[in-house]
Structures are given as C-alpha cells and as structure tokens.
Amino acid sequence: MRNAIEVVNVSKFFGKIKAVDNISFTVQEGEIFGFLGPNGAGKTTTMRMLTGLIKPDTGQIRIFGLDIIRSPLKAKQLMGILPEMSNAYIDLSAWDNLMLVGGLYGVPRRVREERGERLLKQFKLFDRRNQLVKGFSKGMKQRLLVCMALIHDPILLLLDEPTSGLDVESTILIRNILRELNEKGVTVFITTHNMEEAGKLCGRVAIVNHGRILVTDTVENVKNKTERFKILEVVFDRVADFTELASLAVNGEFNVFDERVRLVVEDVDAALNRVVDYARNNSIRIISLNTLTPSLEDAFIKLTGS
C-alpha cells in the first residue's frame, strides 16, 4: 500500500505566530483520514500546504511520492480539492463551472462532458445545470463544489470542512458519495471540527491543537486512549447524601442531579463495588447503573481542552 500523503516535520510561521508546529503524519492509499481540531488549530494552514498554496517553512510534504514544492502541478493533478474558503462562480452556470474546472485539470472536452453529466445527476443538480449558481442554496453550491473536485477523477480528495453548515440532505448525500468513492479506492483527507462526521466517516484521525498533533490513530483507539476515564452514571431510588461517592471520581468530576449521580472513574470494577456497598450500607436501592464510553467528541474535548 502506497502512502498517499506524507508529511514530515512540517512547520509554518506567520510572522511570530507558529501556525503549524513540526507535524508529521502519513495517510495511506485507500484511507479516509480525518484531521480534527478546533478553530485556529492549524487545519486550514495544513490543508493549504498539502495543496501547494503555502510553502512550509520546514519539513517535506509528498503526495503519492511527489514533492509538493518541486512538482506542484503534477501533485495537484492527482488531487480533488475542496478548500474551506471557496465558492463556485456565481455568474456562471453549474455546467460552465464544471467545464471550466475540468478544463483546468486538462480533461478532454468529451470526457468532461460525460463526467459532468454523470456527476450532476449523482449530486442531484442535473436539472439545474444551466442555471446561474447565484440562485443556488448553500447545500447546492457545496454539492457543486464537490462535483468540481471530482471532475478529473482524482485518486486523492482533500476536503476542508465539506459538510459545514449544510442541510441534512446535502450532508448525507456528500457523506454517502465519499464512502462510495473510498470503496472504489479513492483516498480521502478531511479536515473538520465536526466530531460526528469524523466518527462516521474516518478510519483514522489526527487531532490537532495549537498547530501540534496531539494524537494520530484509529477512531476507536483515540476513544480508548481517553477510556481509562469512564463515566459512571447511577440512579438511586431517592435523594441522599452522596458525598461519600465523590472520593471515587477522578479530577473531582462528580455531579449530583437529585437522585442521579454522575462521576468520572478510572477503575470501573472498584467503583461499581463501592457504589453497591454504599447503596447496601445506606439502604438505598439502585434503579439503574450505566457506564458510558466516551465518544470521539469526549476524546477530542479531553485532548484539546476545548
């Protein structure tokens, strides 16, 4: 399996601000890789370096083995790009936008016409192909932008916040098509701060904050890395003095909501026994008892401190 993206010790400064701080990661061919982080974490700067718009101050970036600085045009030819700050030409029709971008990727006219028709049908825009984009909704514009990223049949897709602010229908449509493309072998690199999206789409993720990569792993492993802190939620049959249970909680994360007690614990087994003992000693009945596995969002919040 080839490396689709190789990022080695890359840093980028804007004046005195270090936007990206010595990051390294690889994305293998055929992966859906999520690059997650809060706003200002360095996601868009990294994306712009991957797409050759910004030169890194240090380090190397290779796209399918091509150095992005030395061979930007060849590398760009392999990528389908959806920049975050991007728009289609609102004074052109959807069709003209697609044909323009197809031409800029050097796709022969007949091929881009065939692909354009297929993509517009796939993204449910074919009936509106001759309308000016200025009349399109945000979801339709975004779907068109994804079509524009796909017109040259790229083997690598780089998408910056692809479903940000979209309606449910467009989100699901884009997500499903990305999955289909990935099944056909297209590598997908997504930056997002939407944990739900990352959890549903990505096989592996990197979580970034303040320009640094905090963790790079599979979604499950990232969750597991924060799973040593599990959430224990107990509902008793009545309100009582639960302060005795506070000693079980890690970092003081102990909350009481009437007869419901929620605490973050490290050793679930020990905590469960203590809770059962507490209930027995105080003649209180346990109505329900749940251990909640942290979601990717919990892991993200924990790691980034957001």
Partner: protein, 254 residues
Amino acid sequence: MNSSSNYYLEQFKRSLLIMKKNVKIYYSKGPVIVFGVLLPMFLFLAYFIGRNISLHEAFPGLLGMTVFFSATSVGPTIIPWESRLKTLERLISTPISLWSMFLGDVLSSFMFGVLISLIPLILGFILGVEFINCFLLFGGVILGVLCFSAFSILLSAYPPTDTPSTIMMLTSLVRFPLIFISGVFTPLSALPGWGVILSSISPLTYFVDLTRASLTGVSYYPLYIDLPVLVFIAALFFIIAVSIHKRSILKRLS
C-alpha cells in the same frame, strides 16, 4: 513534442479557459462598462466639442483614450472580484501556473480592448478620417492594447484588496495623469522639453505617437523606437505583475 513545449502548450490552453471565463463574467460588470466604454467617450466629447479642431486632428487622442481605458478596465477588476467571491483559492488549487492564470487575464483585457477600439476605428473610417498607413494603425492598436492589458494586471497587484472599487479608484489615480502627459490632447512636438521627458515614461506616449504616424506619416519618435518600446513595456509589466501577485496572492485568501 518535448515535455517543455508540451507544458507551455497545456498551460496556454488553461490561459484560454481563464480568458473565456473572464469574458463571460467580467465584460458586463458595471466598473468595466463605466471605465472602459463610457469614460473615454465622455472624455473625448468634453475635449472635442466646442473646440475648433478637426476629427482628423483629434483622432489620435480619441483612439489613444479608447485603447488605454478599455484595455485597462477589465484586468484590475478580476483579482479583487475573485478574492471577494472566494473563487480564487479554488482556481489556484488547480494545476495552473500563476503566469498562465494572469496571461488569461491579460488575454481577456486584450480582447475587450480590441473590441472597444473597433468602435472609434469604424467611426473614423465612416466619418472620412484618412489613414496613410493602415497596417501601422492596426499593428499599433494590437501592440498598444497588449501593453495596456499587461499594465492592467500590474494595476491590480497591489494592494492585495478584495474590494474592486478600491482598485478602480487607485487605477484612476494612475490612469488620468498618464492621459495628460502622453500627448493625447497635445502633440509631443508642441510640448516643452520637460514635458517630453515626462511623457517618455508613459507607454501611452508611444502608442499615440504611432497613431499620429499612421495618420500623418510623421512621428515624434522613430517607429523603430515606438514599436519595440511597446513590446518591451508589455513584457516588463507582465513579469513585474506576476512577480508582485505571486508574493501577495496568499494575503487575498485570508
């Protein structure tokens, strides 16, 4: 075909696509119509009406203003507009070289300049303006429009704003003084010594001089200076424009 010439051919095809896109989008924009068509027309009328000069005498000025204003009206609007509508990042993310993208902008300015310049040329023919050398006239128009189109890309290079009106205002600050120092209203031979020196820094001077030569057979500078100077300045403006845009283009994305 070797890989180098193939590269330039492929990039030139992309320039043509950029030109086609610009024609569809920018030719009908308000600032382009106002600064590229209406302004030279009204300037000429203000200069011509009520003065005791023939159309034959005024024609170099009319053509000079038309060529200059029309060729410099499309170029400055493109990049600020692309920045504002957030189409620029998409565009430069494709496998197109910056020089190729700006060549497309120059070509679209060139096409507009040539089309609009046909209006005074056709009017001149209809109204009986006599041309001694039509080849020189058309050659001069082509070179002049090309030179001013390259100039228009330079005009939009700095500051890296996303407000077309700011660039159009700054462009006017440059264009109007050039009109007055370039022998458009007064032949170079009638200017004082310092006026001639001043006018020599303006590319418009050489175009107007060529036009006068095509009408009267007499030019202030020899043709072997006028023609190469226009070509040289066109190339110089283009190289400087691409170089400045290259440095400032990322500021437009933020």
